[in-house]
Symmetry: C2
């Protein structure tokens, strides 16, 4: 019954239970999940290559630790996440005080926006960058200022320029970048860090940092009060479904998360899994190698079909479909209908790309087949869009 209710009408007559800001927000999901797509399209995906997950999975040690923790999950997890923060501190050559752990980078970004932004405050990011960050900014009533990509890279000089002009509360930069897969060298990031105004926090999203070539990530001990760096167990560690990420930086800034976080929010299972994952460097290295090989293969599949893959330092490859967003969307839909879940950026000019996450050989076989079939259906990039 109520799934089809006219919510707009009811809200109009109800007293004002929710804040003006809340009432102004849409009830949207930044990303539609593959499960929802399956329900909507009435199909079942044979390959799941759209959410930048790692089908190579969590380390067997992490999976075992989580399975063990599941039976013991009658007990709350440690709200101070002491053991895990200690291990992360060791990894980065820092201390526990530099680190806060949360329900994925998404959760931590939400906390950060809340801690820094009041309605009307300015925030700078790139046009087409991470939608969930934008969701949190809008959710706190702050104003997004969007800097276009330049040659499918975030435009560091333009971001610096805009930050100098607007003096925003936050400046978002992903390195490596999603959705393009591009990356900046550490020296460039260093310049961005040095040029960010003192009253602006540089939000350095390094979710894909584990995949990047040496010389991409600045050293962990490069600390500034206005620099916070975000890492996750969702990508190289293969634990997207576990929901755990962390932020590190100057203790005076890192401690702020303790003021607003959901203290028991990171599950006992997630803590056990992350701790075990940190102890399995070999699995991590293997995953990174497998990802690199799969990335090469996606590039080869793209080229074999007359499409241009973008260089990538992540676990996905953005493929230039060679025309506009309408064409890329038609191509994407045709791939989806063939049972292969992939995604694409939502705004021009990045919306001429389709984004394919790495997979096992059998997943990429399915993608190769689906892509060829989809191109047959909608026509290659050099032809007119069939049926339009």
């Amino acid at each position: 019954m109520a799934d089809g209710i006219d919510i707009g009408e009811r809200l109009a007559t109800a007293p004002e239970l929710f804040t003006p800001l809340a009432r102004s927000l849409p009830a949207t999901v930044p990303f539609v999940g593959p499960e929802a797509l399956e329900r909507r399209m009435g199909i079942r995906f044979r390959a799941r290559l759209g959410a930048n997950e790692s089908v190579f999975g969590p380390s067997p040690r992490a999976a075992e630790a989580m399975a063990r923790a599941a039976a013991g999950s009658w007990a709350y997890g440690d709200p101070e996440l002491s053991e895990l923060r200690e291990a992360l501190a060791h990894k980065h050559g820092l201390t526990r005080a530099h680190i806060s752990v949360g329900e994925g980078i998404d959760g931590l970004l939400g906390h950060l926006v809340r801690l820094t932004c009041e309605p009307g405050d300015r925030v700078v990011t790139s046009l087409g960058a991470y939608p969930t960050f934008n969701y949190h900014v809008a959710g706190h009533g702050a104003r997004l200022d969007l800097v276009p990509y330049r040659n499918d890279h975030e435009d560091v000089e333009a971001l610096i320029e805009r930050a100098r002009t607007l003096r925003p509360k936050l400046l978002y930069f992903a390195n490596p970048d999603n959705p393009t897969g591009s990356w900046a060298e550490a020296s460039t990031v260093r310049r961005l860090i040095d040029e960010t105004p003192a009253e602006t926090i540089l939000v350095l999203d390094e979710a894909y940092g584990d995949f990047a070539p040496e010389g991409t990530l600045p050293p962990s001990d490069l600390l500034r009060p206005n620099l916070l760096r975000f890492r996750t167990f969702s990508k190289a560690y293969g634990m997207a479904g576990v929901r755990i990420g962390y932020v590190f930086g100057d203790p005076a800034s890192a401690v702020q998360f303790d003021k607003v976080r959901n203290h028991f929010g990171v599950s006992r299972i997630a803590q056990a899994g992350a701790l075990a994952a940190l102890g399995d460097d070999r699995f991590l290295r293997d995953t990174i190698e497998r990802v690199a090989r799969a990335r090469d293969r996606i590039g080869a599949i793209a080229r074999a079909n007359g499409l241009a893959p973008l260089p990538s330092a992540t676990n996905f490859v953005a493929i230039d479909a060679g025309r506009d967003g309408t064409y890329a969307r038609a191509l994407l839909d045709a791939v989806l209908r063939r049972g292969v879940f992939i995604r694409m950026p939502g705004v021009a000019p990045l919306d001429r790309l389709i984004r394919v996450t790495v997979g096992r050989d059998e997943d990429l076989d399915l993608f190769a087949e689906a892509l060829a079939g989809a191109l047959d259906e909608v026509g290659g990039p050099d032809e007119r869009l069939s049926g339009s």
Copy 2:
């Protein structure tokens, strides 16, 4: 190094990176976890009876589903939690649109305060009620108005009176109550629902609802735009360490959570576990019976030691230590030092209570021994406090 840093000093000289509200908040934890207590006291607890967890554990079916999900946790969970919400809807005779799932009731309460309260807005609760709710209220800059308990029960008439006078954004009521264990009959709750001002949302926290005698919970289909009811898998379902709870109510209000929640925040493992737990009614009934027996035994232990247990409809028993907060704190500390983790309310007059969660026979044996030893050490309630 930085664990001992003088954060106050650094913040004073830093530019204002964080909002005035954030800067005014303390970096505290509403509850100190047993792990932190162990580190601080240099001991290891032999029985964990302080956090209202269920040592009887999750259903074996839920544990198995979570262990299975752990290996598959490379994939994000369904952000719409469709299957789980469908099962919850079935349980309550509602629809998916009535239900929002989150990272425990704690996470959902945080979202609700954010959705409803602007700085300076009024919120009414009971003096000594759930600290994490108060943490979220303070965290959003709203003003708490506290109504004293009456005979160790939340004072329904006084809460109604205060809500009529203040017209707060939120009115918090837990049924059954934590930390006293007391409960109100459904007819009383119904009166509270009917008398809550139309512009106030009644926050009905039913975390312990599964343990309550029949006639305590109002029917699930009693819907109001200004009524939201909170349930959890942390208590009777024995899944505190999994982090999953839900809220249900009028769809126009339930949908608001979609505007601010961390869409991928409820892990794939948690979703699988909760779904399996809902399918094991027999385990739930067994747990509820075991909890009732253990509650009786805690009462008997209290009485055997000359202390008065309060009636409880939860998985814990509040024991009146018979004197003031200083005495109860000394008694509590002496129990802790004997390796048994229990807790106590923080504010008078409830701080004359100590709160003991149910446990297995062997846990309660340890509690009985620790309580007797602690009373020997600090003196019984009728004696003078030894050493003071």
